[in-house]
Structure formats: structure tokens, C-alpha cells
Amino acid sequence: MSYAYLFKYIIIGDTGVGKSCLLLQFTDKRFQPVHDLTIGVEFGARMITIDSKQIKLQIWDTAGQEAFRSITRSYYRGAAGALLVYDITRRETFNHLTTWLDDARQHSNSNMVIMLIGNKSDLESRREVKKEEGEAFAREHGLVFMETSAKTAANVEEAFINTAKEIYEKIQEGVFDINNEANGIKIGPQHSPTNPSLPGSGSSGGSQGSGCC
């Protein structure tokens, strides 16, 4: 499957805020949440179209790896976008946002687009964090904000795609160094005439032992 760009995302936030469900909901919409079945996954990829260009999103959930500092910092560094998720029915997940954000800002490249997501918007009756609070936090820290529901799929699509749009705009503005894969952006195989030796573009058979990037 060819694409113009590949964007790598990470999803961060406290455990239980529904990160992996959001991911699955976006990458595989066919999982209709019925019977109160919550299904999530730690990795997914999906093709989207922006500006009539095919863009592939690869989303990596970092859940369960917080214990290792080397892992989190590498994840942050390798991503072009991050979804910072909290649970609107649990105030503490909102309170921890600053810590997550500090971490992200410290380890990521400065251009990483961060979207703030208040998840579980379907559980209005149990809401503990007002939408305005999320908005205010986002405004203060320069993030894009959205409330979503992995359950009803409300805004899930938009959250991922809007983030991609913002990354795409940054590429157009020349902010991102797209030839540097460490930024979490990769040019599609047929789109990189300037750099045909781009590693991992689909030709190398043996992946082991090839030089460090």
C-alpha cells in the first residue's frame, strides 16, 4: 500500500483512560462496542486522506511500559504526534496531565503535535471534569482539544485526523525535517526521489544488522 507520508503517533495518559480502545476504534471501526465489551489493542495502522494525499498513520500505545525510562523516552522521540488522553469521569487522570505533558515536552522533539483528548464522553452522568476545564488546559498549554468516546466512536475519527492535519500543515510550512525519520515522519517509498536509500522503505529483506539510523 503506497502512501505519501507515514506519521507515527503515540498515545499517552493514565491507565484505564481508554487509550487502547481509542486506538482500536480508529484503526478498526468494525469493532462495534456491543454487550459492554471493551476491546483494545496496542498497535494499529490506518490509511487516511488529507489534501488528496494518502497518509498512513501508525499508532503505538505505550501502556505497561512506564516502568522503564528508556522505553518512554524513546517512544516520545520517535513520534510526530501524541494523543494525551484523560478520562472525563476520573478527575485524577485529568490532574496527571501536567506530568504527562512535562514528560512529553522533555523527551519529544519540539515539533510534536499533541492533542488533548477527554475520553468517555458518553458517560455524561459520571462526568467529573468539565469540558471547559479541558479546553482551558489545552489553551494554556497550546494543545488541540477534543472530547471523544471510544464507545460511541464520537470524535474518534476527528481526533486522529485533525492531529494528522496539523502535522501535515507543519510539513507544508517546512517546520518538520521530513528527511529525518527520528521525527516520526516517513516519506512514502515512491515519494522520496531525493533519498532513495531511505531505510525501511520496503526493499531491504534482512532487517537485522543494517546500519543505525
Binding site: F43, A45, Q58, S70
Partner: protein, 977 residues
Amino acid sequence: MFRSRSWFSGGWGRPKNLHSLEHLKYLYNVLSRNQTVSEHNRGLLVESLRSIAEILIWGDQNDSSVFDFFLEKNMLSFFLRIMRQRSGGSSFVCVQLLQTLNILFENIRNETSLYYLLSNNHVNSIIVHKFDFSDEEVMAYYISFLKTLSLKLNAHTIHFFYNEHTNDFPLYTEAIKFFNHPESMVRIAVRTLTLNVYKVDDTSMLAFIRDRTAAPYFSNIVWFIGKHIQELDTCVRNDADHQSQNRLSDLVAEHLDHLHYINDILCLNIIDLNHVLTDHLLHKLLIPLYIYSLSSARRKMSANDTATQRMSLTPKSSHHNSPKSHEMTNGKVSCVVALFLLSQVFLILSHSPLTQTLAWIILKADKSVFESGVDKLHDFFEYYERRKTEDEASGSGHSERDSDSPKENILSDKTNINITDEEKEKLADPAEGAASLKNFPFLETVYEALDCTENDYAALFALSLLYAMASNEGVTSDITEQVLRPKKLYVSKNSDVSKDALYNTYLVEKVLQIIIFSCQPSCRVRLVTLELALKLFVQLTVCDGKTVLSESHRNTVETARVQSMALLRNFYKSEEIFLDMFEHEYCDMSKGSLNVEWLCMDSAILLPPTGTPMTGIDFTKRLPCGEVERARRAIRVYFLVRNLVLTLNGEVETQLPLTNPQSCVQIDQALDLNNSDLIACTVVYKDGAKMRRFLVIDILQLILVEPDSKRLGWGVAKLVGFLQDIEVTGDKDDSRCLHITIHRPISGASSNRVPLLNAKFVFDDNIRCMAAKQRLTKGRIKARQKKMQHIARLLEIPGQSGPPSPAFAGQGASYSRSARPTARAENRFLFNINRGPGFAAPRRESSPGVVHRADESMRRLRDGESPNRAPNARRDSGRKETRSKERVKSREGSPRMPRPRSEEIPLELIKKAPQSIIDMAPKITILPRPQTPKIANEPEPSTSNEPPKETPKLDISVSKETSFIAEENGEETEEKL
């Protein structure tokens, strides 16, 4: 391309209920009827695989018969069969298959279900299956699958993956094949997996890892790190113009990733594994490459001419700033890079066997050790360690005894309790003087790098290495003591020995040199270097919270303080935004002290120091560019050195920040406004909301109050802003209106500069309006002047305070009278109204809690050192006026001409409420600071001429200088009145 939801269309006898055993049975039939993947059925297969995952997870939570069926029919074998087919777009199906497995393993909660899934070894067959890894999608799903499995590992499940009998552990061995995959996310997944594996406490599995894989895996890692830093070194060598900052920052980040990964492994505390890893790191990377790169300069030199060795202490600047000048021989990296990387090692790793060895080699390895070669270094260290243990065992475990070791001919062993002070100082440093220093090849290089004569390129790294070694938890005190930390002496019997600790005088002098250097105008020391030098300095000389500095070194510190002050004095008021800069820099600094670990994450410092901000390098990490930045730098240097002096004296800051939050009115505070000037107004917000308020102008603050319902004449503050942050403009259409913007005070908390208030104020008539405008404008100027005077006093600029000189008499009088509004008018013209800005009002002995420590020394200074400045401040100010005229536009609020006014509007008296009432609401505190205990309701010590019982005045500096009207507003105001 997925035929999504096609199964909704029904037919084929599919059960209605998607989550049921029946549906799984149906899917089983689909799979068995479509065992060969083709163009035609792959969509159907993908759908079925996806549905199977969903049903299984539903079954896991609701109906155990689902799993029974799945196992009974051995459905995982279908998965394998599909995988093994090479035709018909198998990668498409493989991806879904792997995703199905991911979903399965990730979402299963029931332990038994998990065991079932793992029981028949199909999973291992899937793991070893040779997928088409050139397909990045397959690769990503595959590695995620392995990672997901590794997250399920524990003492029980490990047996499904590690086969003790066949000594086979495909999950691990397959994964580590990808440890150097070009795709970063794959590498991360591999690292995660390995850590998850090591974490499992299973002896035989760990034995397998150690015996079969540790050596090759770890040596591979070490080899790649080595290769990597060579690249990094090349990048640094070839980039004097900051062209490849991005590449460099990637390389540095990558090196940090490696170190953090190694640290994560070491922190798991698996003894066998750590031993192998430490061994590899030390002998194949850290000692031969990192440490030996430190010796290159010296070795080359000694080869050339032994006589030049004596010069090894004189600055050899060429060596520091151009790594290119060093030939990169036998795989060495430049000294700068080596220092930088070693700092990172000490900042990140804390595994004692590793860092201890490294620290010993750097600090204590002498020439004999050095000459015997790389391989021997470690042996020497072990010998040293053994000696120590023996010593301790034999009951004489005194650290001083260590130095009896022939391998450690350090002078300190002669340290004796009964020697004199002088002798001690001499002996204090193991590397005292050139003679002994040259015996420590690595330490010598580090010390040499501290030289800042030309620039501070290498000095920054040398400082960070020394700091990192001293702070490393794995390095024991017997190694750092006396070199990097003060060495405590056992208190001697003869009490005339003043010192009870020794410190590395040689190094301290080196660091002091950097500090003194930094205080010179046009020096080439970056702020970050200074800050780090100060940090190290404290570490070197402060013992149990007390400094052990000798008198002469103390004097040097004092010299630095005086010089930093002198440096800043040059900039005092030379920039019109000096005050804002001063406060902003203070705020910035209070955000926290330098984090050395973060500093060493920044690749920008690896390139030769530059001045231009166009590189995007942080201000503190480059040289100042232009006059404004030089002023900023001078401010910082002043703060840093001031802070050092306070630390050494064990004092707390009492003079800064300029605004003492405790003396400010807070929102919801009740104020006694009897006899104060209140201007009624209506505040009209941008959104149209209107509020009736009374405007009160305090010395520093603008306060909007509403009447207190409980007490007559009292008001409750509803909004407070600093006068220095206001902007006032009239309204062209309505003479009763003012547009007022109050900016937020500079604070470290956020960069949010949305104004605190931006609204239209409507007054009762145009007289009130003009009065308000005048007072706000004047208030702004006065508030700023007040602060400028505070700064002047801090900088000991003569004429700012101290005993009132004749010129100040009038002001002094006005001040003492300020409490009596009626007496003001006649005093007006006693002022020298021509004083320059910032020089004006007598500084009331204000700023609550301030101790005028500075005053005395200032006076000394004035008497002795500044013949140009006559004690007569009037003359002085006259001179200033001419100066200020020269720079007409130099700052807003400068009076251009004296403009005596007939209208005097007395500033109000505001009486603060007693503490009990003030506490009615949560306080907003701005930058709390340690403060000498102060009674909260007595903000102005100087008002003590009031009866003590009475509520003290908040602030009553009455503006006599009616001439002080902002340039831009002055004329207009006058016309209207």
C-alpha cells in the same frame, strides 16, 4: 478495501447473535472451507479472523464454552496454515492475523483462557514463522505481537515460551534479532521485550539468557554504541558552523537511549546479567574509547617533548576549542566529546561496580597505571578495591589508610591530625601543583579543560563530568572525598585548628577562576557554565551545610560578587526595559536551578560556543548577542553570584524578588478604606458585562473594590493588578472613559500573557476620569521608580539610600508627613523636580522585611571608591537629568520638563484589615519567598511612628512630584484640567 460489515447482510445460515458460540462455530466452518487463501476469499478470511477475536474476548468474559470450542477444534492451527501460504496476498491476511492475535492476547483477562491459548505451542510456531519482514506493516504488527506477549510474561507463563528441556526461547531470541532494526519503533519494542523478559524471576530462564545470549547480545549493543559515538564525534568535528544540529541531536538522543536502556537493565539487579554487561561496557567501550580519549592530548605531547610537560598546566587553548586539531588515532574521540559522553554516563548510570571503577580510573589512576595499558586499568582498580576490603577487615578501615596502596601515591595519606593549617592546605589536594598532577593523566586532562582563557567549550563538559561524578550514587565517598567533596577531619585536640575539613584547593581555584572570569565584561563564559561552576563549587566546599572555604578563597568569592555588581551597574537603566528584564530574569531563575542531566541531553552544547540566537540555542547556552542580551547576562551573573554568596553564608534571600507578595493586597481581602481616595467607576468588559467598582490606587497596586457589606468604610478587593503593568489610554469619544489594560505580572508559572484585565472604565464625570488617569499614570511611574531604587540599592549604586544627605532632606520631610494628607501641599516645591527617572523619591525604608545589609557596604564604597560621585546627590541628579535628556526616548515616564502643577491629588491611605479578616479567602501568592518573620498586618516597618495599635498604613508614599507625568500623557492631561 475491507468489506466491512458485510456479514450484517445475513444469509448463509449465519447466527443472528454475533457474540455466541454458534457464531464461532459458523466461523469455524468458514475457515475450514477456505483453507487456501486466494484473491477471492481473503476478504472473507480477514472478516472471520477479526470476528473470532471479538467472540473469543466476549467468551473470555461471558461464556467459557467458547474457548473450549476454540481449543477443541484447534483453531490456532488454521492461523498457522494461513500464515504459511505464500500466495494470494498473504501479507494482507497475515496482518489481520497478527492483529487478531494482538487483540486476543491483550484483552484476555481470564488466566485459564490465556493458558489454553498458549498451551499447544502454536504461539511459538507463529513466533518463529518467517514473515515477510520487508513489509513494514507486517514487521510492525509482528513486533507488536511479540511485545504484547512479553507483557504477559510472569513466573507461570514463562514456561510456555521458554523450554527448559530444549533450551529454547524463541520469543526472546527472535526478538533480539531486530535490536538494531532501522525503524525506531521496532527497536523500542525489542528493548521493551527484553526488559520484560529479564524482569521475570526464573532462574533457569535467566541462566539461559546469560549463557546463551548475553555475551553476543551485549557485545553487539556495546559495539553499536561504539560505532555510534564515532559517528557522533565525526559530526562534531565536521560541524563548526552548526549546520547539522538536527543530526547531532539525534545522535546524542540515541546515545542517551542506549545509556537509559543499559541503566534499565542494570536496575533490574540481575547479578549475573549485570556482571556480563558491566564487563562488556567497561572493557570494550568505556575504558578504551571514552576514558582513553581523555589522554590523547597528553600522550601526544609527552611524545613530542618531555620538557613541555611542565607546561601542561599553562593554558593550551588551541586544544580545547578545536577538536579538529587532534588527530583521531586508533579509534579515539575528541576530548570534548569524551567529556560530554562520560558526563552522560555518570548522570544516567548508577550501577556501582561500573561507575565506581570509572571514577577511580579518572580520579585516581596514576601514570604507572596509565602506562601499563588499557587492560591493566581494571585490574589495578580491583587491586585497590581488594586492599580496601582487606584494610576494612583488619579493623583499620580508615579511608586514609587506602592511600598506603602503592598504586595510589596520593599525597593525602600524609594528612595528619596535628599538622598546621598551611600544611593542610598544601596537602589537601591530591593533585596539587603541576608536579603531582602530571601523574594523573586523566584527571589532568579534565583539569586542563577547565581553562576558560579562550572560551568555555571544554570547560562546560569538564565541570559537568566532575559534578556528575560527585553526584553519582554508585561512587562511594572514599573516591570522591577530598577530590570532589570536602574531606572531614576528625576534630583535632588543639582547638586552634579552625578547619575541620579539607577540600581540593587546586580544583577550587580553577573553578573560582571561571567564576571571576564570568564577571568580566566581554568574557567568553556562557551562563550555563557559570551556573554549573557554582553548583560544583558548592559541592566542593560545602560540608554538612557549612562552607569549609578558606579566608583567601572567601575573599575571591567576595571579589566576584563585587565585580558582578560592577558589571551590572553598567547596564542599570541603559536599557529602557531594564526593570522588566530584571524581574523577568529573576523569575526565570527561580523556576529552578540548573538540571545537569537535562543540560547533558542537549546536543547544542557539543558544538563550539556561539553567540547568535539564530542557531536556536538557549540564551544561557550561548554567548550574549547585542546590548540587550549582554544586560540580561549581567543580570543573571549578578543573581548567580549573589546566590552563591548567600549559600556560602547560610543566609536566605530577603531582598528579592522586588515585589514581595506578602505585602501585596490579595483578591477578596478586606481593606479599611476610611479616609482613602476612592473613585467610583463602572467597569465595562469586552463581552459587555458591567460592574460597579471603586478604584483604589496603592503604591504598587491598582485595586478594584466593592463595599464590604459587614463594615462601613471597608472594601473587599475584587481585582488587583500591579501599577507597573498597566496601560491607560483615554477615549476619544467619551471624556469620562478610560481604557485600561492590566498585564499579568511576570511569573515563572506560565508564558500566558493574556492580560489580567482589559476593560473600559466609565467614571462619573470627566474630572474623575482625568484624576484617575493621572494617578494611574503617575502610579505606574512611581511603582517602577520604587523598584529601580531597590535595584540601585542592591547594586550599591551610590546615592540611593543610607543616611539622608542634604539633597534628600525635602524628601525625607515629605515622607514623614505623608501620613498627614493636609500638610502636603506646601511641601510640593521643596523637591528637586528635575531628578532623573528612577532616581527620584526617597526610598522609604520599605520593602518589608528588607534588611539594609547593602547600605553599609555601599557607604564604604561611596566614600572610598567613587570620587566622581559627590555625596551631594542634588548635583548628582542634575547631572543625570542632562543624561536623560540626551536619551529622550530612553524610557517611558521620563519627565522631559519640570511641570509644576497646581492640582495635587493626594494618594489615599489604605488601611489593611487585621489578619483574621484577610484570611477570608484563599490567598494568591506570587512567588513566595523565605522571609524574615514579619507580622502580616504590618507591611511597612517605617510607619512605626504610628501608634502601634492602629491598623498600619498599607502604603502611603505620597506623590509630591506632580511633575511626574508621563511624557505621552502630560500635555493632554494639563489641557483638559
